[in-house]
């Protein structure tokens, strides 16, 4: 793909003037040492959208997430977030600064604190100053969306099942009071029924909190259940952009390269 187009969002990420959060990635190269993991990746997420980042393992989805979050510095290209009309360049900023803009992540493998309780994990999500004021509301929201967590609020997270841990990870991201939610491989390590539930929960959180969502996922069928649009990453390049779930599902390229049909 060449220069990034703006599907449904003239005026750039975040629609420049409007409320909400958008993300723009332009021509990003990144790698680890001599290995180039991303090659000229461009994509856009407009406010209120759920965009799926598709591709099998090792094609650069997590690398792109790491670049957006400032954990890996791209060698070329631009990444910008627009939140309530204010555009911030992300390249060169620390992960702490980027998250503090209102960009939360549900990381691959969940990355919880196993020896701390459910509630301690959730409250750590609300460390940033602008999230602290919203703690009572967000905690109530978490316990309402995940009643199981309320029952087990005092339990050490390390002793919980994978599905319950995924709920804690989603809840912890909610506690960050985000505007833009990044979700990296929510299906990893979960039974199929739990993957479906997790994906539904992400859609529910997005609706109830008015979030913008970018979700990296290798489980194609689950991802396009909730995605408005999607990009397919193959060997670090965006090989296909589908502007609707149907377009993604019908694409010859997706069927051939990705689903192996």
């Amino acid at each position: 793909m060449g220069a990034e187009a703006w599907p449904g969002a003239a005026g750039g990420p975040g629609g420049a003037r409007g409320a909400g959060a958008g993300l723009l990635v332009e021509g990003v190269d990144a790698g680890y040492g001599a290995v180039r993991a991303l090659d000229g990746v461009s994509l856009a997420v407009a406010p209120g959208e759920t965009v799926a980042l598709l591709g099998t393992n090792g094609n650069g989805k997590t690398t792109l997430m790491r670049c957006i979050l400032g954990l890996l510095r791209p060698t070329r290209g631009r990444i910008a977030a627009t939140i309530d009309g204010v555009t911030t360049e992300l390249v060169g900023r620390s992960p702490e600064e980027i998250v503090d803009l209102g960009i939360a992540i549900v990381p691959e493998g969940r990355r919880l604190f196993p020896r701390l309780s459910v509630e301690e994990n959730l409250l750590l999500g609300a460390y940033r100053r602008s999230a602290r004021a919203a703690i009572p509301r967000n905690l109530e929201f978490c316990y309402d969306a995940f009643p199981r967590l309320k029952e087990r609020r005092g339990q050490a997270v390390g002793s919980m099942s994978g599905g319950e841990q995924q709920m804690v990870a989603l809840g912890r991201a909610v506690m960050c009071a985000p505007r833009l939610l990044l979700v990296d491989e929510p299906s990893v390590g979960l039974a199929p029924i739990l993957v479906a539930r997790t994906v539904e929960k992400i859609a529910e959180l997005k609706e109830r909190l008015g979030l913008t969502v970018l979700m990296a996922e290798q489980n194609f069928h689950q991802a396009i259940r909730i995605a408005d649009r999607g990009y397919v990453l193959v060997h670090g390049r965006v090989e296909f952009r589908g502007d609707s779930p149907a377009e993604l599902g019908d694409s010859e390229l997706v069927r051939k390269f990705y689903l192996g049909l």
Binding site: F113, R115, Y127
Partner: protein, 293 residues
């Protein structure tokens, strides 16, 4: 009362009081070693530095030694923050902390000890307190305030720290930092700042423990040596990152040592106490109160 029983009860009670002192000495290490993964072998040397500073200040001002310890604690906090900054920059950031970091703190220990000898000489220092020569008696049991007050103040300080770790935003981040530091960054929490702050806290506790030590016994530059093995043993026995476990392990260690010393002589007490440590670790490798997860 049966004299043997009275002896035993007194042995237990003064063991608990000794354990209070051990708890003070070990609690700071429970933060640095247990929660931050920083093997600060110089921790007892910092305690001795605090003790000698308190003794000198007490001689100069006549103020209460534990009050003086609380006054020098912020200085130790700042020293800890600076020291962690250097440790992080030169060792931890490069992933060299395992062996070279240990060597670093070993060096810090010797610098402190030699610094003390050069500055104030090799002799012993002692802090006096108005209450130190009073002994309360409960029946046949002696409660010397020289031991009781430092133990009580130390336990109160540890209790306050435990509340802070459980209920404060920074406290929770301290409890989390050794479990997954990158995950903290993804919550807008800078793990280096958290560890710097927490390492400062561990040295502030060393200062407080020093104040207690200076009241309990005369202190010289090398007085920290006998504490090194004990405080590491206590922190490990307590389950590394658990302050409550650390206190209980310290009290148990004090009682075992003291009762052994009472009945079999002081040369047996370290052997029996460290034997108890091995026994605990054989049965519960995660320590008395460590969570296995």
């Amino acid at each position: 009362m049966d004299p043997d029983l009275a002896l035993l009860l007194n042995g237990i009670v003064s063991g608990l009081l000794l354990g209070g002192l051990y708890a003070a000495a070990a609690a700071g290490l429970s933060v640095s070693f247990g929660m931050l993964d920083v093997v600060n072998i110089a921790h007892p040397a910092f305690m001795v530095l605090g003790a000698i500073l308190v003794a000198l200040l007490q001689g100069a001002t006549g103020l209460d030694p534990l009050l003086l310890a609380a006054l020098v604690a912020p200085g130790f906090w700042a020293m800890g923050a600076l020291l962690y900054g250097a440790y992080h920059r030169f060792f931890e950031r490069r992933g060299d902390e395992a062996i070279q970091g240990l060597a670093f703190f070993f060096g810090v220990m010797f610098i402190i000890e030699i610094g003390i000898v050069l500055a104030v000489g090799p002799e012993q220092h002692f802090a006096d307190a108005a209450w130190a020569d009073t002994t309360w008696r409960l029946g046949e049991i002696d409660l010397p305030l020289r031991m009781l007050v430092p133990a009580a103040v130390s336990l109160a300080a540890i209790g306050a720290l435990a509340l802070f770790l459980r209920h404060g935003f920074t406290g929770r981040a301290i409890a989390a930092v050794s479990q997954d530091r990158e995950a903290l960054r993804l919550l807008a929490i800078d793990p280096v700042r958290i560890k710097r702050f927490a390492f400062g806290l561990s040295l502030a506790l060393a200062a407080l423990a020093g104040g207690a030590l200076a009241v309990v016994q005369p202190v010289d530059a090398a007085s920290g040596h006998i504490f090194i093995g004990r405080v590491f043993a206590i922190v490990i026995m307590g389950g590394l990152a658990s302050l409550g476990g650390c206190v209980l392990a310290a009290l148990a260690f004090g009682v075992v040592e003291n009762v052994t010393a009472t009945f079999y002589g002081p040369s047996w007490s370290p052997a029996v106490a460290f034997g108890a440590l091995l026994l605990v670790l054989a049965v519960r490798p995660q320590g008395l109160f460590g969570r296995a997860a």
